[in-house]
């Protein structure tokens, strides 16, 4: 039994490692072909386990065991042959061809295990090869199956345990196989625990520890600042985080803390933009805000977008705009800015705030949070993109109806007249032409080409910027750059790398240069995936560009490389032509995959008749019976050819074996007399006689005649009857616990 378990301990993981590590060998192009797409299936593992057990059992069992295995194989083969239809039989074999390969792999695994465990040095070398294999997988960036790695680690641990045991001087039950069998449960427990964890593909970012270290560092800095004289922390670096200023720095560094926490009533899967402050004027190095208008831009913008959606699809507004609520709590942030997503229409803290050039800001910061209502816009959906290109312009009636749909009154600050003034103001404030250089003009002409649609033009600009390089430290902007045009020459035609403020600036300036009002926005941006509550960290601070499309409102664009995230929800019943979203390399998500309604083929079922069950069973049993019979005949013939002394020895050994099977095994070093004395009344008197006979035969040179054999055989028969009775008796009785 110990030999069986020992070999199985090595064979099974080796077979699993090969099968899962090299799925091509099993005959499938990939794991999904075996299972239908969900990874390696349970049936595959069951097959590996069964075949491994079969091979190990075959070579570790006695003749009866071997006969049993042979009988099962014979029954299986007979069952297969009984499938009359050749095509059906062939289809069945082809469908399960991978089983045959697994069968062979398990056989080869077992053969390898037999070879390696025989030579301990070979086992050690194979351990080193395993280490090399694992390291090569790691260094090459390969992503093998979890089970492949688990099986490899298990093999490694077993080899290591055996190697340690070989060099460990001990007394007692130190046999290597027994030791490994008893060590295996602990190794398996460690393995199962270890591999139950999630094993991410990305390297660990140590964010938690970095955050802890940063918090400690900041705490120390705060303490030191309290004692240091003012003005001691001058730095050219900008810290990643929201700022009410919009200077383009040469580099940014991390200083992570939780800025705000957002809780929404709806789980969402999108990149959220929470605008804190907008800017309208750029001087080559920094943005400033000259817009002093106190109109409620965000609400007017929301109503404007609603008019477009209502005009486009009055009964299916929900498909393009969904109401949501959010609660924003300030955590580590000290600012008067109020952060709101696009298409906000109701903010609880409005009474304590005021609009400054389109941005909402606290008059006196007392509240630590606010709730707001806004609309999630299905912006990336192709239907919405069609709407953006529709050239819609709302009239008063539509305006009033849209306001009503939102739950607002189209009077006062939200009247149609206010809207018209608001539009004029946008054009006046956010359409300053940067005055492009000749080179930049040519560049823009090439980029835009013959495109007339404003949305597409903006997408081209966005796409071009997305294809540039993100760099936290691109270097300071040259001191001689003091206009938007010079900046564009420097950045778009030259540098082509920077971080969000550079890209947002470039986008806004380029949009304005083609006659589209645009603004630079600073706030927070975070990709969320189906969560309702999430922290917004200081390093989620971001800058982006927004363009104004007449009749639609402000639309956010993401020009920063690697930040674009397009996700939208499907509109039921609409089969709009899906355009490939303009996604630069490295962007996160291209939207949900629509469920296909692919029909599954009906799998052929194999119906078995009674004949097809009974006959293989009979064949199998016959095989076992015949094998055992043949073995019995062979043994009898061998026995009959022995001389008297050898026969007697054979009889004595058989008798001992029978007793060892039902009483106890002889201990190593225990003599026959000691064994006999120790068994005492537990064994029948015939055994004691047989042992005496055995000792006489072994140590005495006395001549043995044929006449000595029958009494010995009679002793053996008595012992066998005793052993059988004892076996049957133990089956009837409940086993006693020690």
């Amino acid at each position: 039994m110990s030999g069986f378990i020992y070999e199985l301990l090595y064979t099974l993981p080796l077979a699993v490692m090969i099968v899962t590590g090299f799925p091509e060998i099993t005959g499938a192009a990939g794991p999904s072909e075996i299972t239908g797409g969900a990874g390696l299936s349970i049936s595959l593992y069951i097959a590996v386990i069964l075949f491994s057990v079969l091979w190990v059992f075959l070579f570790n069992s006695d003749k009866k065991g071997k006969a049993l295995v042979g009988g099962i194989a014979a029954a299986a083969l007979t069952g297969l042959l009984l499938i009359r239809d050749a095509e059906e039989r062939q289809a069945l074999i082809l469908e399960h061809a991978f089983l045959i390969r697994i069968f062979i792999i398990c056989a080869l695994s077992y053969a390898l295990v037999r070879l390696l465990t025989r030579f301990k040095k070979a086992l050690l070398i194979s351990g080193l090869l395993l280490v090399a294999f694992l390291l090569s997988l790691m260094f090459s960036g390969a992503r093998p199956e979890k089970m492949t790695v688990a099986a490899s680690v298990l093999l490694l641990a077993l080899i290591l345990s055996e190697a340690i045991q070989a060099h460990w001087k001990k007394e007692g039950y130190t046999e290597a196989r027994t030791h490994l069998i008893h060590a295996a449960p602990f190794i398996l427990a460690a393995l199962l625990s270890a591999f139950s964890f999630n094993l991410p593909d990305r390297p660990y970012d140590w964010k938690l520890f970095i955050d802890i270290a940063e918090n400690i560092r900041r705490g120390c800095e705060d303490v030191l600042l309290a004692f240091l004289p003012p003005g001691g922390w001058d730095s050219d670096d900008a810290v990643i985080g929201f700022s009410e200023r919009a200077d383009l720095k040469g580099s940014i560094r991390n200083d992570t803390f939780m800025a705000i926490e957002i809780e929404s009533d709806r789980a969402t899967d999108e990149r959220l933009y929470f605008a804190g402050k907008t800017f309208d004027s750029f001087n080559g190095k920094s943005w400033s805000k000259t817009d002093k208008d106190n109109a409620a831009y965000p609400v007017l913008d929301t109503i404007e977008t609603m008019t477009a959606v209502v005009a486009y699809s009055p009964d299916r507004v929900y498909d393009l705009m969904r109401k949501a609520r959010a609660f924003v709590t300030y955590e580590g942030l000290r600012t008067s800015c109020i952060f709101i997503p696009q298409k906000t229409f109701d903010i609880t803290t409005e009474r304590n705030a005021e609009y400054r050039g389109g941005d909402l800001a606290y008059k006196n910061r007392k509240d630590n949070g606010y709730s707001l209502s806004f609309y999630q816009v299905n912006q990336s959906n192709p239907v919405f993109r069609d709407l953006l290109s529709s050239g819609h312009k709302p009239d008063k009636a539509l305006w009033e109806e849209s306001a009503r749909r939102i739950g607002l009154s189209a009077e006062g600050d939200f009247s149609y007249d206010k809207y018209l003034k608001y539009k004029e103001h946008i054009v006046n404030s956010y359409l300053q032409d940067p005055g492009l250089s000749e080179d930049m003009r040519r560049h823009m002409d090439t980029l835009i080409g013959d495109e007339t649609d404003d949305l597409k033009k903006l997408e081209l600009i966005e796409s071009e910027l997305n294809n540039m390089t993100y760099n936290n430290s691109p270097g300071a902007i040259p001191s001689d750059i003091d206009s938007g045009a010079e900046f564009l020459d420097y950045f778009v035609l030259g540098k082509k790398e920077g971080f969000c403020t550079h890209y947002a600036t470039a986008f806004v300036l380029m949009a304005r240069s083609i006659g589209i009002p645009a603004r630079y926005v600073q706030g927070y941006s975070k990709t969320v995936k189906n969560v309702r509550s999430f922290p917004v960290m200081s390093d989620n601070a971001h800058a982006w560009g927004e363009a104004y499309i007449d009749g639609i409102g402000w639309i956010a664009f993401e020009p920063t490389p690697g930040y674009k995230h397009e996700a939208y929800w499907e509109i039921e019943g609409v089969t709009a032509e899906k355009k490939d979203p303009v996604v630069p390399p490295g962007s996160v998500d291209n939207g949900p995959v629509s469920e296909s309604s692919a029909e599954t083929e009906e799998e052929p079922s194999l119906s078995l008749t009674l004949t097809q069950i009974i006959i293989p069973l009979l064949i199998g049993l016959s095989f076992i019976g015949l094998t055992l019979l043949a073995d019995s005949v062979y043994r009898k013939r061998r026995y009959s050819r022995l001389d008297s002394r050898d026969k007697l020895i054979h009889i004595c050994r058989r008798g001992l074996k029978r007793i060892e099977g039902v009483c106890r095994k002889r201990e190593p070093g225990e003599t026959l007399s000691e064994f006999s004395a120790d068994l005492g009344d537990e064994a029948p008197s015939e055994l004691h006689d047989l042992i005496r006979l055995y000792e006489n035969v072994s140590y005495d040179d006395k001549e043995i005649s044929d006449g000595d054999i029958p009494p010995a055989e009679e002793l053996l028969r008595s012992i066998e009857r005793f052993a059988l009775k004892k076996r049957l008796g133990s089956l009837r009785r409940r086993p006693k616990r020690k």
Partner: protein, 387 residues
Amino acid sequence: MNRNLVIFIILWLLSLAGISFYGGPVSYGLFFFLTVTPLISLIYILIVIIRFRIYQRLDAANLICGRDSDFYFTLQNEGPVGFFGVKVRFYSSFSTISGIDDGVEYELTPGTGIQKHTGLLCKYRGEYEVGIKQVMISDCFRLFTVSYKNREPLRVNVKPDLIMLNELKSAELALSTSREQLTNPTEPDILVREYVTGDDLRKVNWKATASAGKLMIRKTIGEEQQGIGLMIDSKRFSDSNFDYIPVESKMLETVLALTLFFTEKRTPITVYSMSGILSEDAVERGSRFDSFYEKMSAFAFSGSTDTGRMYSEILRQGTIFQKKAVFIVTHEFNEENRLMALELSSVSIPVIVCVVSDDPGSNDPDIRLPGMTLVKISTDSDITEVL
């Protein structure tokens, strides 16, 4: 820190580097496996601590100091898991185990045990623990070794050894001098002794008195001095059994050896000891010696014993003055012992002070009192050589 643990820590640090730079199932798998393995090892060790049993047995009902006894112990695995590395350490301060190496590690499969038959030699008399002292358990990767004290130690009561002295070299001179002191320098055939209050003044021998300068009276026939006196200083001088057990064992060995010597010579010997109250044992050959031996085997030293009070009571009783010689067996030649020796030697009773101590050179008296012999006995010395 053992070698395997060092290697393990290095591998764990490398796995940390692996997950920091590479990611993926290989690096994370190895990292988690290496992180979890020590926890599993510690759980395993906990199981062993709970399920490991030691059975110890001594054949002899009575143990005698310095003599080998058959000692059996069984290390039993009563748990469901294999024990991969179990080591036992034996008590060695007061006893030794022969025939077995202290550093052997054992492996036990579930339900099995290892029985060993060895010899136990107790070095000192007294009550103390013998056999297996400590158990050390290692896991299968030999990362950790946890040791703990044997929860069921074997406590034994060891009797003192009985040593036969062939001669008493240290006391011979004292004993012979005492005979000279008893003779009358002016009239050698008339035995005299010092006057004791209550003696008949008509017995005063004026010639001997003039010669000695103090009242001396004639000894009457039959007024022989009665055998040997032996006093045991039974004060326990330390709380640490590492200190007091060897000394007390040697003291009792000395007492028994002296008592046996004199009883064999048919010289009566009276042993004075204090175990709460003063006890005076007149020991003779035969059964009285056997009962004396049993008494000494069970003799209890105590830190509260007042040696001075014991000596005062002995002096008050007066029987000590009739002794031919007096032995004091003590652990220290302190002031009380010195005064007692002085008291006795002043009445011409030879005093042999046996100081049992391992402290070299301490308490050696600067003043050698006439009639006093100091014998120093260390705890590991052979008293047949020393006495």
